[in-house]
């Protein structure tokens, strides 16, 4: 028997597989395809202080083994999410992780305060890495000082553990991770998207109305693996790994690099069943490579 369970701050996971923020909405759509209670946990779409419409369309583009998105944090606002979406997800009895975004530290604090009113949030994924909003979001993720500041302030407020979602668009990912750990983060979530652009030849303009977008999918997997591997050497807090995962073999690669659990985003669009199928396949892959548990595989590439 292969043990898939993982215990992380605030998260008792029966398996290490969770859908990535923004790629799974609030679960309703994918619940038509399979029983979400099968998931290790679920990460909700980003929540901001008040409702946001997001960017103009087009919001997505296809790239080689990847995609660009510039949704722009569209969401109904944290209150509506707590009121309408959390109760829906609660029925599946899996840890619910709230992805928190904002334009100012105050907005981050406001979102967290509201989330504190809910008993059903297991952890917060502090999104300081969304490349698709004019102000706020990513600049917190590019400067270690700002990252630790927002992390500290949120940690002070939050009733639940805080996982900081890091941007890969930095010169020194280790420096960022170390600063965030020092600021009190309970864990790291990496990576968010790489900033990219595609130009539409017929119109001679960037294809996304936001011009730039976040690159996700298999194309960025080597960058994610590298960053997790480097960061793992310098922090002790757990890492939720993501970036281009499509198969159970990919999951094992992330575990070996140093991830304790993983999130799957873009792959849901190609295959709505991908999380479910990977959960079924993971034991076979772990077994094939002589592991008896997920925890045993974590960090394996560092020995």
């Amino acid at each position: 028997m292969i043990d898939l369970s993982v215990n992380l701050p605030g998260l008792k996971l029966k398996n290490p597989i969770m859908p990535a923020s923004g790629c799974f909405g609030f679960g309703r759509e994918y619940s038509q395809f399979y029983d979400l209670s099968k998931l290790g946990a679920v990460i909700m779409k980003a929540a901001t202080g008040s409702k946001r419409f997001g960017n103009e369309t087009p919001r997505v583009a296809e790239t080689a083994s990847g995609m660009l998105n510039a949704i722009g944090l569209q969401n109904p606002g944290v209150e509506k999410i707590v009121e309408k979406e959390v109760p829906f997800l609660k029925q599946y009895h899996i840890p619910i992780i709230a992805n928190v975004a904002g334009s100012t530290i105050e907005e981050y604090e406001q979102v967290v305060t509201t989330l504190n009113h809910s008993q059903d949030i297991a952890a917060i994924e502090l999104n300081i890495s969304c490349p698709n909003v004019k102000e706020g979001g990513v600049q917190f993720g590019l400067d270690p000082a700002m990252a630790s500041k927002v992390t500290e302030r949120v940690k002070k407020l939050s009733n639940v553990p805080v996982y900081v979602k890091m941007s890969p668009n930095v010169s020194n990912i280790t420096e960022m991770a170390v600063a965030i750990e020092a600021a009190g983060a309970d864990g790291l979530s990496m990576i968010n998207t790489l900033t990219g652009m595609q130009i539409h030849l017929p119109s001679k303009k960037p294809i996304l109305s936001n011009k730039t977008g976040g690159l996700s999918g298999p194309a960025i997997k080597p960058v994610a693996i590298r960053m997790i591997y480097e960061v793992k050497k310098h922090v002790t807090i757990p890492i939720i790994g993501m970036g281009g995962i499509q198969t159970a073999e990919d999951v094992l690669e992330f575990l070996l690099a140093g991830a304790d659990a993983v999130a799957i985003g873009t792959a849901n669009f190609q295959n709505p069943f991908v999380c479910s199928e990977i959960i079924d396949e993971l034991p076979n892959i772990l077994n094939k490579y002589q592991f008896t548990s997920v925890q045993e595989a974590t960090g394996g590439a560092h020995q």
Binding site: G25, V60, Q74, F269
Partner: protein
């Protein structure tokens, strides 16, 4: 309910320049799809699926037809499929054209532009069965791109316009609206500029419009395909809430 289905390619034929008709065999889709709904097709080697409208369904022989134009790599590869090969498709997706409230002998105008014509054809066949009177205005780039003229003629009075006048009338679909006899409502699908013009020209009329947008998930989870609306929420998702909307509820 949307399912992930395997569709068997029965045939692919070029029906006009860069325009193909593909027949697919699948029981679930052929028995559940309604006009206006679409398939989200997976094409190997592509990260994103391709949304393609359902152009007709035959429950008897379980065949679903789609008509598509080759725009980029995905549709080009689609046009290269051989009969016997299989396609992975999500569907049927979205809400179709509302037709329940129409009574026999009601008269409707159907307006289609380019690759917006396929869902209009499926709708037309359904309306015909209910004894609705049909008139069509179909817009194409030019003569070489015209398809399904015969099929539409069999269903009702059909006006064809081409941008360059190389076939039918010259100009835009809206130029022909004055020519058609009175109708109770309209249905339209086509490129956005055309839809904007149609909505404006027929502002006084009840109408339903089917929209296109670049999509991610195709099931309502990613918020890639939103459209601004004048209701309280301020937006709707084309894939999940549409692709068909009442002309007066959307801001375009």
């Amino acid at each position: 309910m949307i399912k992930k289905e395997i569709l068997k390619v029965m045939s692919v034929k070029e029906i006009a320049t860069d325009s193909y008709e593909m027949s697919l065999e699948n029981e679930y889709i052929s028995t559940h799809a309604v006009p206006g709904q679409f398939l989200h097709l997976s094409i190997p080697g592509h990260t994103l699926r391709r949304p393609i409208s359902i152009a007709s369904c035959n429950q008897m022989d379980k065949v679903v037809k789609v008509l598509f134009k080759t725009i980029g790599t995905g549709t080009k590869e689609l046009s290269g499929y051989q009969s016997g090969e299989q396609l992975d498709g999500l569907g049927p997706i979205g809400h179709g054209f509302p037709i329940e409230d129409l009574k026999p002998n009601d008269s409707v105008l159907l307006i289609g532009g380019g690759i917006g014509i396929p869902p209009i054809y499926f709708l037309a066949t359904a309306l015909k069965e209910r004894g609705i009177k049909l008139q069509f205005i179909l817009g194409f780039q030019s003569k070489d791109f015209v398809f399904y003229e015969k099929e539409f003629n069999m269903l009702g009075e059909t006006y064809i316009v081409t941008n360059d006048g190389s076939y039918g009338h010259r100009g835009l679909v809206t130029d022909l609206i004055p020519n058609v006899s009175s109708f109770d409502r309209y249905y339209a699908c086509g490129p956005l500029p055309m839809l904007k013009a149609v909505k404006k020209t027929l502002a006084h009329k009840k109408g339903y419009i089917s929209f296109e947008e670049r999509m991610g998930c195709g099931v309502g989870a990613c918020f890639a395909c939103v459209l601004k609306t004048n209701d309280g929420i301020g937006y709707k998702k084309i894939c999940q809430d549409g692709p068909v909307f009442a002309a007066d509820e959307v801001i375009i």
